[in-house]
């Protein structure tokens, strides 16, 4: 009887997991299949998953429509560099909050939490102006005060450059930085203080202790933060759309504009019969790099979060 119950539960569990996995995988597998399927077969009821013949036309059209390799280069460099900068600033801040007592530490950490809660949509207009007329946070205005010229003379237009992501990243207020600072703080708090004391006795200053003793001990968290930062930068739409308003934009923006244009019928480069194929192939091209990253770094994604003590 007990055995029967066990098998019944195993069956239920299997059905449930299978069904829900299907819900997750169905759109992805359909995209994969349709991207390589000649568009004539879309309306063929006898073809559901496996195309009768394969074609690269959709992919070729999508590469053209997205200006793929150009945009891919921009996106990859933007993601990697911003994530690395974020890693530096967030680990520094996380360590500061975890191990040092200084005045106003509590209230300042509350502000870290606040940066997570306030959506970027609320503050991205003033931020846009900051980068459009960038003068090193008021330095240009200060100089202009002395020279008597219009301060606009002393500003730089950073719109359409990667600096719009680099500056907030290195200053620890980039994409979801608050969350990363929180993760690092938790990770550093889990390391025994004896390690630091030993380093201090051996004559390490705080910075040296940080780089050669503390950082190697939070490697897993650092990798997790890096991967998540990559993925979130990759997927970011609102900010990339705002800071890259021209044609030369990261993939997320390209993808959305391209598909919206196709659906509205504004893109006349492709025949109506080909449009669905281009759309599917575009989504595939957008997702492919991060899915590959996920497959190779899966261990860090899955185990990483479980061990970083996000929840501790």
């Amino acid at each position: 009887m007990k055995k029967l119950k066990k098998y019944a539960w195993a069956l239920c569990r299997f059905l449930l997991i299978f069904g829900l996995s299907f819900v997750i995988l169905y759109p992805l597998l359909q995209t994969l299949s349709k991207a390589f399927m000649p568009t004539e077969q879309y309306s063929d009821l006898s073809v559901v998953w496996i195309p009768l013949s394969l074609t690269l036309d959709n992919i070729k059209n999508a590469v053209e429509s997205l200006d793929y390799f150009h945009s891919l280069w921009l996106t990859v460099t933007l993601c990697v560099s911003s994530s690395l900068l974020q890693l530096v600033s967030c680990s520094l801040a996380g360590y500061g909050f975890a191990r040092f007592k200084f005045p106003l530490r509590g209230p300042l950490f509350l502000l870290v939490i606040l940066t997570i809660i306030i959506p970027t949509q609320i503050i991205f207009l003033p931020t846009f102006m900051e980068y459009r007329f960038f003068d090193f946070f008021g330095l240009g205005r200060l100089i202009a005060l002395f020279t008597g010229e219009n301060y606009v003379e002393y500003t730089f237009n950073l719109i359409n450059t990667r600096a719009t992501f680099w500056i907030p990243s290195i200053l620890g207020v980039g994409l979801r930085s608050g969350l990363f600072i929180y993760i690092f703080r938790q990770a550093f708090r889990n390391i025994p203080t004896a390690l630091e004391e030993a380093a201090e006795i051996d004559g390490c200053g705080p910075l040296r202790t940080f780089t050669s003793v503390m950082l190697p001990n939070v490697k897993t968290s650092a990798i997790t933060v890096f991967l998540f930062s990559m993925v979130w930068h990759w997927n970011e739409y609102t900010l990339t759309r705002t800071f890259f308003p021209t044609k030369n934009a990261p993939l997320a923006v390209k993808l959305k504009t391209a598909i919206e244009a196709l659906q509205a019928g504004n893109d006349t480069r492709f025949d109506v019969s080909l449009q669905m194929g281009v759309s599917y192939a575009s989504v595939l091209l957008f997702l492919l790099p991060i899915i590959l990253l996920y497959i190779f770094a899966q261990r860090y994604f899955v185990e990483g979060i479980e061990t970083t003590g996000i929840t501790g």
Binding site: A10, R13, L20, S21, V23, I24, L25, P27, L28, T31, S89, L92, A93, G96, F97, F100, K101, F102, L108, T115, I116, I117, P119, Q121, I122, I123, F124, L125, P126, M129, F133, V152, I167, P168, L171, G172, V173, I181, P206, F210, V231, N235, Y237, A252, L255, K256, I259, S279, F286, L287, Y294, Q298, F301, V302, I305, E306, T307, G309, I310, T311
Partner: protein, 300 residues
């Protein structure tokens, strides 16, 4: 005396180094977070015009906060209220669903690693834009014609009504079945959070309960549910924030379009701030209510 003075000197030096560690963040916070936030407040009380020399402001008082509600009678009904009430349905379902899935994924069975990898996939792709896109292609499985009548909302609701369940519960369940696609795709991070929480519960407690002869039902409510409650709080707050700040939220969408399409900077800021403030009050209220029920193991 000398000793005390020395210690305070060390403490002061430590404080200074700590401060240096957070300094880059502090600069960013002031210039790229607090100042824009104050600016957004300023924008919201002005009519903002974009000119070649920069921005031009005309003070308008509360106009930006009220114009949409006054001029568009459907705005509150079709945009603002759905944006606020979304979470009433979404968040509880999300919390229950992710706990349920996490418990299953925490059990030992063949293919566990694979299923975990699949269930974490939404964390990687949950960008909103791809989901929106896949949906616009009709790839949302709950919307395809392959589904038989019974799995569509109406079918489920009717079936349950005939089974004698009250109207409210029926509506809730049919809502769930309609949104299974959204729910699964929304719950990625929550499942991860719960899973890590479940793994931190000591095995010995379950073993003790089993020896005492507790049923699975009792074990869940007396051990798992109690021990997991701090995580539930985190999941609850995360889901709320996610639901409020997601790109698919109608108000956030409106705030974005008001600026990017209609060029109304003041109105966009005002509505955004107002929405944010309401969301903030709700989050704090939920947090305060929920944290009273949370059980912390006194480890220190």
């Amino acid at each position: 005396m000398a000793k005390k003075k020395k210690r305070s000197a060390i403490a002061r030096r430590r404080a200074r180094s700590g401060f240096l560690f957070i300094l880059p963040w502090l600069v960013g916070l002031i210039f790229l977070f607090l100042r824009p936030l104050v600016m957004a407040f300023y924008y919201s009380f002005n009519k903002v015009l974009i000119t070649p020399e920069g921005l031009n402001f005309q003070f308008t008082g509360w106009e930006n906060f009220v114009y949409k509600f006054r001029d568009d009678i459907y705005f509150f009904r079709d945009v603002f209220w759905p944006g606020l009430s979304k979470f009433i349905i979404e968040v509880p379902i999300c919390v229950i669903f992710s706990l349920f899935i996490a418990i299953i994924l925490n059990q030992k069975f063949r293919g566990r690693t694979l299923s975990r990898a699949i269930f974490f996939l939404p964390v990687i792709i949950a960008s909103g834009i791809v989901i929106q896109m896949l949906r616009s292609f009709g790839l949302d499985p709950s919307a395809t014609a392959e589904n038989s009548y019974i799995f569509q909302g109406g079918g489920v609701a009717e079936l349950l009504m005939n089974a004698g369940l009250p109207q409210g519960i029926c509506d809730f369940l049919s809502e769930v079945s309609n949104r299974i696609f959204d729910i699964v795709w929304m719950s990625g991070v929550q499942i991860v959070l719960y899973l890590s929480g479940l793994q931190s519960i000591p095995r010995s407690e379950y073993e003790a309960a089993e020896i005492e002869g507790a049923t699975a039902w009792e074990i869940f409510w007396k051990i798992t549910w109690v021990r997991i409650s701090p995580i539930t709080l985190v999941v609850l707050v995360y889901s709320l924030i996610d639901s409020f700040t997601n790109v698919s939220n109608p108000v956030i969408k409106f705030v974005y379009e008001e600026y990017s399409i209609r060029g109304n900077l003041g109105g966009s800021s005002a509505l955004g701030l107002m929405y944010c403030l309401i969301a903030f009050v709700i989050i704090i209220a939920v947090y305060a209510l929920a944290s009273r029920k949370v059980f912390y193991v006194n480890e220190n």
